[in-house]
């Protein structure tokens, strides 16, 4: 037992033991970053799996988020004759908040669940035990490639999401608010070029940093729930459900605190 688990066991609370294991797993995955060169294949496989396979959903959702933002903000701003500012509002909201968060939520539903189900099935069919018996480092072999893959993929998907969201907002700005599309785009880009940090707009890199943290969190929670699965198929179902629920809770809580730290 690692120290976190021991504290948990002392408190006799399974959720605390679970959280302890999840933290331990996160640290263990980070400690094995140096193994990645020999894990290139599984890393690329995982990136393909969580990147390409969630891409269409992520883009679809964020296009609509951009449209929703433009619609709601546009009508309010129009009441004060400020509809020109809709580009600024949409791009700031997308890049800082909505793209990282909505992408993370979609990834939690699609990737964290898949990781929990896959590792959970391996756990209950004793495949994970077999790896332990063969002295294969489970954290290095199963966890590290999954965690790194999602940590890298999440910011990439988030970037695309932000672009698509801004375009979605543009469509509404043009068709519903009667704005000039080029003017809208110029306003959104200007909003981002503010406050740049070594040439990278502040809004962009903080959004991407959040996305990386979300990707890391989601994958660690997915793997942790999978590896803790017990009791056959229903156990795998439970761990999948817990993985999605816990990742979404963590994304939202983390989003608040990260926002507070970054923008204060």
């Amino acid at each position: 037992m690692n120290p976190f688990q021991r504290v948990g066991a002392a408190l006799m609370a399974p959720p605390v033991v679970g959280a302890g294991f999840t933290m331990h797993l996160g640290l263990a995955a980070l400690a094995r970053i140096s193994h990645i060169p020999k894990r290139r294949r599984p890393l690329l496989d995982q990136m393909h799996l969580c990147g390409i396979k969630s891409l269409h959903v992520v883009l679809f959702v964020n296009f609509f988020i951009g449209m929703i933002l433009a619609l709601q903000l546009g009508f309010e701003l129009a009441r004060y004759g400020q509809q020109e500012a809709v580009g600024l509002a949409v791009s700031v909201a997308m890049v800082r908040e909505m793209a990282p968060m909505m992408t993370a939520v979609v990834l939690a539903a699609s990737v964290a669940s898949a990781m929990a189900a896959e590792l959970g099935t391996m756990r209950v069919q004793e495949e994970v035990t077999a790896l332990e018996v063969m002295s294969v480092d489970v954290y290095s072999y199963l966890v590290a490639p999954r965690v790194l893959a999602l940590t890298l993929i999440a910011p990439m998907l988030t970037t695309l999401s932000a672009i698509v969201g801004i375009l979605g907002g543009g469509l509404i700005a043009y068709s519903q608010l009667g704005l000039d599309f080029h003017g809208y785009l110029r306003a959104s880009l200007e909003a981002l070029s503010d406050n740049s940090f070594f040439g990278v707009p502040r809004g962009l890199y903080t959004g991407l940093m959040k996305a990386m943290i979300f990707g890391f969190t989601i994958s660690v929670i997915g793997c942790s729930n999978g590896l803790r699965a017990t009791h056959g198929a229903s156990g795998v179902g439970n761990s999948t459900r817990a993985a999605v629920r816990n990742s979404i809770i963590m994304i939202i809580v983390l989003n608040f605190f990260l926002g507070k730290i970054i923008y204060q």
């Binding site: 099935t121 391996m122 069919q125 004793e126 495949e127 077999a130 018996v133 063969m134 002295s135």
Partner: protein
Amino acid sequence: MIKLEGVKKAFGTQQVLDGVDFHVPEGHSLVIMGPSGSGKSVILKHIIGLLNADAGRVSVMGKNVAELDRSGLRELRRDMGYLFQHSALINWLSVFDNLALPLRETTKMSNSEIRARVMHVLDLVQLSAAENKLPSEISGGMQKRVGLARALVTEPNIILYDEPEAGLDPEMSASVSHMMRELKEEHGMTSVTVTHSVSCALTVADTLAVFEKGRFLISGPPTEVLNSKHERVREFLGAQLD
């Protein structure tokens, strides 16, 4: 080489092992028989350090398994092979990759050495033709033999077989039993086997033990055990001997 002294283990209120004692010297083969659900697999899991005893002591090659840290356990397991009751092959790796995995992960062997070793053990279990198939594409009996090959591929000194004959046809089952015997006689392998098959037990065992309700009812040379006057032992084995 493998020694259990007064080992007890309970899951919740269920006392699965209630004082298990045995000693398997080097090059010796112990076969354990007993009713389903009595805790035979649990005994094997104690020997390889997957479960820890509530009381008593499990030692393998002079080391107390419960006291080993992660690297000590890794060291010990390198010398051990484990055939899982349900094969436990990695579902997304081909048969070849399943067998190559422990060699790739824990040794510095070259690819050609790995290939040679894997093809050799696959040949032993007569599955050379299945090297590129996924576990889901082969039958349960074939999976069992791949599991056996995987347990052998690292050339361990100690091997734990959990129902090696389960799911195999009579001919294949006999051939696996003979292979197990050969490994013992030619390579001096030490083994603990759990089985439901008397003929497998007779082929493989130096010592046969019958396990029920957390304890060994009897243990000794196989012929002695089969001819024992112990009522419960006769009852249990009799069903198969008739």
